[in-house]
Amino acid sequence: MTFAEPIAGVRRQVPLLAGLIGLAVIVLAIAFLSITVGARPVTLDTVWAALTAYDPNSTDHRIIWELRLPRTVVGLLVGAALGLAGAVLQGATRNPLADPSILGIHAGAALFVVLGVAVLGISQLSLYVWLAFAGAGAAMLAVYAIASVGREGATPIKLALAGSAMTAALQSIVSAILLTSPRTLDEVRFWQVGSLAGRSMDVVVQVAPFLAIGIVLALASGRMLDGLSMGEDVARALGQNVRRSRAIAGLAAVILAGASTAAAGPIAFVGLTVPHVARAITGPNYRWILPYSMLLAPILLLGADILGRIIAPPGEVQVGIVTAFLGAPFFIALVRRRKLATL
């Protein structure tokens, strides 16, 4: 199935591709910055030496390998995952407010983590990962099952409503547990903000395969999302299997959102807003929106993380807080200045 592209479309592709390459360069630069900037000043030479000739006896080298590198990799992966998950969900549900937190994914992850802490007494981050992943998957499956009941199947609006309802229900249970268990509240209030700090390479290794699958699925669904964005009837008339398209997109979003929540906690706002920024640059074509979202989101996330390290010494401000403070004003300015494409 091919769309007859207007000639102007071809002419737009060149600057869009150049922009994509430019963004990739910025991502690399910010990743390098993320390895060099921190509470302990490390010179560029030392960074280079640590990356090329690792010396386990040097404290600087160990800081870079054991703290900053995992943190940077988690930031890159989680950022890409959040940006893609948001874009895919918005495209598949045709709702500008769709993001992992609307579909109950964050709430499911939070509930399982809170239960794990309160009931099983778990307090290791590496175990949080699996709890969060299981919770995200369970919540999303439940939401999808509820939304699919009935003649029409899982329409976007039913998905969004079911997700919001599920989120509210699960959050209430979380609140009840946190109110009755101060110990759990004390543990979880730091996880709930979302942070890239303190993740070891084990976490990266655990979630990387999921993220890889999710990223491939999401990038492959661009053409389907373009079809869906014209409305179900048009998509059907063009020979698309709407149910299958939505299932694939939904699966990609669950894997990405679940794995990223597992790795870094429930980071709101990135998945919601980055696709709107991407759309403002690229126009309504999802084959461009997806890769742009995938590169813009890690820039926001790592940039926020770096800022959080230096903004309030000696402590750090968690990345989830900084993304909101940094990203929201920018996002609001963008909404004010441009005529954003409606979905």
Binding site: P96, L97, A147, E152, A162, S175
Partner: protein, 351 residues
């Protein structure tokens, strides 16, 4: 000629059927609410016979005084039930106004930043200034109004479009949530618990003094809403069509936004940001009506019913534990909405 007659007859019969359905739904909801209200005066740890409840209610007229029973009924249960009904209505009307105005079923005040503004302001008052009680309510009220003004001001560019309000609202919600999260990670555990308790929303401290500001606000806001709802029906057709039909779109929209913010702010100041009532009332009312009307009146009844029912469950479901009502509205309202979604095998049309 006969064709025209046929058609007008069809239109008349459809209108008749819709009116019948509207009346049926409204009456059913009103009855359920009356029952719930009666039940809430009767239920409780201190047993009062139904006859004694009635006697207490009429005691100001009859002069029959029974100190203990009168205190329980008139000073504890009646204020609590009245406050539940009024706040439920307010949250519901706020929600359905935003949802209709912004043409998005997700655009309730608990998503587009109004509730977040109230909450962040209240948490700031609790954690930074160490305030409690009425001052926190005042802070929440101010926070809701200021956030709404900021959203409206930022969304204004030769008029406001629904889409811009929703997106900027989300941005504001994110900033306000970040403020709260930051305060939570920097505060002592005890303060965090206090703030959390307020954030969940509760009727446990309800008294007659909380009712007056809210009741006064409703006396002003409800007529305003009734006056502007007609334009809202026209606005559903798009701004241009509505203008052509003679609706003063921008003026009405500002009025309705003000009313919707007012409902949310006064209700939040009275009982805290009880989640989900605003979000769920409109969709439930519209699903019950099935296209027979815009659902404002019915949504208000649904909101009151959800709040009152949830509060009864919160008080009496678990012996020895009084849950905050916000915990129950989330579960209760959510389950009901999910059931509705599953029960109706039509497309999930809300707007």
């Amino acid at each position: 000629m006969t064709l025209a007659l046929d058609q007008s007859a069809i239109v008349r019969s459809i209108r008749g059927r819709l009116a019948l359905r509207r009346r049926g739904v409204t009456l059913g909801l009103a009855l359920a609410l009356a029952l719930a209200f009666a039940l809430s005066l009767y239920l409780g740890d201190y047993p009062v016979a139904p006859a004694d409840v009635l006697r207490s209610l009429f005691s100001p007229l009859t002069g029959e005084i029974n100190k203990g029973v009168d205190f329980i009924v008139l000073n504890v249960r009646v204020p609590r039930a009245v406050l539940a009904v009024l706040t439920g209505m307010s949250f519901a009307l706020s929600g359905i106004t935003f949802q209709t105005l912004l043409r998005n079923p997700l655009a309730s005040p608990d998503i587009i930043g109004i509730s977040h503004g109230a909450s962040a302001s209240a948490v700031f008052c609790i954690i930074v200034f160490g305030m409690s009680g009425l001052w926190v309510s005042f802070g929440a009220f101010a926070g809701a109004i200021l956030t709404a003004l900021a959203i409206y001001g930022l969304a204004w560019r030769n008029g406001v479009t629904a889409y811009r309000v929703v997106l900027i609202g989300i941005g504001m919600a994110a900033i306000m949530s970040a403020v709260m999260s930051y305060l939570f990670t920097r505060a002592r555990l005890f303060e965090v618990q206090q703030a959390l308790a307020w954030l969940i929303g509760s009727l446990n401290a309800a008294n007659a003094a909380d009712i007056y500001p809210l009741a006064l606000a409703l006396v002003v806001l409800i007529p305003l809403t009734i006056a502007l709802v007609r334009t809202l029906d026209a606005m559903q057709l798009g701004d241009d069509t509505a203008t052509a039909l003679g609706a003063r779109v921008e003026f009405s929209r500002l009025g309705l936004i003000l009313a919707a913010v007012g409902y949310a702010a006064f209700a939040t100041a009275a009982v805290g940001p009880v989640g989900f009532v605003a979000f769920v009332a409109g969709p439930i009312a519209r699903r019950l009506l099935n296209g027979a009307g815009n659902g404002f009146l019915q949504a208000a009844l649904v909101g009151a019913l959800v709040m009152l029912g949830s509060d009864m469950v919160a008080q009496h479901a678990l012996p020895s534990i009084q849950l905050p009502v916000g915990v129950v509205t989330g579960v209760f309202g959510a389950l009901f909405l999910l059931w509705l979604l599953m029960a109706s095998n039509r497309a999930g049309r809300v707007n």
